[in-house]
């Protein structure tokens, strides 16, 4: 524990700005993954333990696409779209068969998918890590804001994630599709009786959730090492985010992803060897005080 360093940091603008932006970037990428988890849970009541796999595959697809096309934009698109498609296939082929069954059965199916794809990635891309490298356009020196350091690449990532948060938020509250999705989250049977093809709707939800995770994986690929099994730690963190924010709440996912990002950002200064523990403690405290999460519906 190093509370002195934490205090010193909190009183200098440079440190606050830098650690806040680093918390933002960690949080925003986390949000993209967690948004899918929370959306899928909210609508389908499925706890998608395979979500980290979407993130991993999105990264790998982007890595290969970049190698072939040499365009980061195409790589990101390919990562996101392929995972949207994969989401649909996953939902139709596997998850749709266990709707309404035991949560453990769903867990097992997801667990199987994680195992299978970790190994498939090993077979296709090899067991060693890969590094994608920074696209040329972003190989520029960082910006300095109020004494804090902000890299342009991260500023762009934060921008994209924020844009998606806004689109997702507005889309769910303002558009007819979004309203229907929210209605299906509460009463899918009734929505279906009103003439909405809920099978299609569920597939769309999985496509959006998978696509977001794939997008996160692709966006992060230039700076993170790609390796089989990399989805796991992301999955755990996005779960924490989902639970803290309230299962099914996009706003909650955003808020808690940022909270986790900030806990990391400042926790690493105050509690360098116990940052993870800090996050679990936050999660337990929130589950005890507000089991439904920060933005969750009361049960």
């Amino acid at each position: 524990m190093d509370l002195h360093a934490l205090g010193a940091c909190l009183t200098t603008s440079a440190c606050v700005v830098t650690q806040t932006t680093s918390g933002l970037i960690v949080g925003m990428l986390l949000f993209l993954v967690a948004a899918g988890v929370t959306l899928i849970f909210g609508v389908l009541k499925i706890v998608n333990f395979a979500h980290g796999t979407f993130y991993m595959l999105g990264g790998y697809v982007a890595y290969t696409t970049l190698g072939v096309t040499d365009s980061y934009m195409l790589a990101v698109l390919a990562g996101a779209l392929s995972m949207a498609l994969f989401g649909v296939v996953f939902e139709r082929a596997l998850i749709s068969r266990v709707y309404g069954s035991n949560v453990l059965m769903q867990l097992l199916i997801c667990y199987a998918v994680v195992l299978i794809f970790d190994d498939l990635v090993k077979i296709v891309w090899g067991p060693e890590f890969h590094a994608m490298g920074m696209p040329q356009a972003f190989q520029v020196p960082p910006l300095f804001i109020a004494g804090g350091v902000v890299p342009p690449f991260y500023a762009v990532l934060i921008g994209i994630a924020a844009l998606i948060a806004i689109v997702l938020g507005l889309g769910l509250s303002m558009t007819r599709l979004g309203k229907t999705v929210r209605a299906a989250a509460i009463n899918a049977q009734m929505v279906s009786a009103l003439g909405v093809n809920t099978t299609l709707l569920f597939a769309i939800v999985f496509a959006v959730g998978g696509g977001l995770a794939g997008l996160a994986g692709a966006l992060a690929a230039p700076v993170r090492s790609l390796s089989p099994g990399m989805g796991f730690s992301v999955l755990i963190e996005s779960f924490i985010v989902t639970v803290i924010g309230g299962m099914g709440s996009i706003a909650g996912a955003l808020a808690s992803a940022l909270l986790i990002g900030l806990v990391r950002g400042f926790g690493t200064i105050g509690f360098p060897q116990f940052t993870d523990g800090l996050i679990y403690i936050v999660m337990i405290a929130i589950l005890l005080l507000r089991p439904q999460g920060l933005f969750g519906r009361r049960l």
Partner: protein, 236 residues
């Protein structure tokens, strides 16, 4: 007169226990048919089976000349079969207007008679509550809302399951009047009820079911005088 909805030898199960036995029904265009029976007689299950929420065990459902026995609920809805469930099932976190918008679609023949303005006209009470969350409405208001919501789909047939359940007499009167007007304007309605007086004023004819079987079929005026049937199957 054309037949819009017909059930032939319909049976249904909840798990291993059979709820419906060989139900036959026929609903003619622009008519209102009441489905009467005690609590637990199988009215709601019949409605759910017709709407496609409970799968038919055996038998056939023909709607507008098409066999829809195996069709999923949304297909039936798009063919013009609107279902209003017994416990109303509004979308509690959506506003009244959003509840209606989610259900908006044109009818099977492309008609779009029911639009938001017409709903506000027909249900002035809802017009005043359009921005309110549905879970903040009273039971009667919710009942009006779900009927309006069903109409937004411009259906050929309305399946109304116990619209009077749990409502105050004055609210029941409102709903009753509204349903009579709907019927008079040419709507086709299947109305499941245990409140016979409510039905008598709305429906043209009635089918009585008991323990999952059809036990009687008569026009409502006749049924009102048929003490025997009323005592045997409908008395509380």
């Amino acid at each position: 007169m054309t037949e819009l909805l017909r059930a032939e030898g319909l049976s249904a199960f909840y798990g291993a226990s059979q709820i419906l036995f060989d139900i036959d029904l026929s609903l003619q265009e622009k008519r209102t048919l009441a489905l009467l029976g005690r609590n637990g007689a199988g009215k709601s299950t019949t409605m759910k089976t017709l709407a496609g929420i409970v799968p038919a065990g055996s038998g056939r459902i023909v709607f507008d000349g098409r066999d829809v026995t195996r069709a999923p609920p949304h297909t039936r809805a798009r063919l013009g079969l609107a279902y209003v469930p017994e416990d109303r099932q509004v979308f509690p976190e959506h506003s009244v207007e959003d509840n209606l918008l989610i259900a908006a679609k044109s009818g099977p023949d492309g008609r779009r008679d029911w639009t938001l303005p017409r709903i506000w006209d027909t249900f002035p009470l809802l017009a005043n509550l359009r921005a309110r969350h549905a879970d903040r409405l009273s039971g009667g208001e919710q009942q009006l809302l779900v009927i309006a919501r069903a109409l937004m789909g411009n259906p050929l047939v309305l399946l109304l399951d116990e619209p009077s359940e749990g409502l105050a007499p004055i609210v029941i009167a409102t709903i009753s009047r509204m349903l009579r007007e709907l019927g008079a304007s040419g709507a086709t309605i299947l109305l499941a009820e245990q409140n016979m007086h409510f039905c008598l004023r709305i429906a043209d004819e009635a089918v009585v079911i008991d323990k999952g079987k059809v036990v009687h079929h008569q026009d409502t005026a006749g049924l009102a005088r048929n003490e025997d049937i009323r005592r045997r199957y409908l008395a509380m």
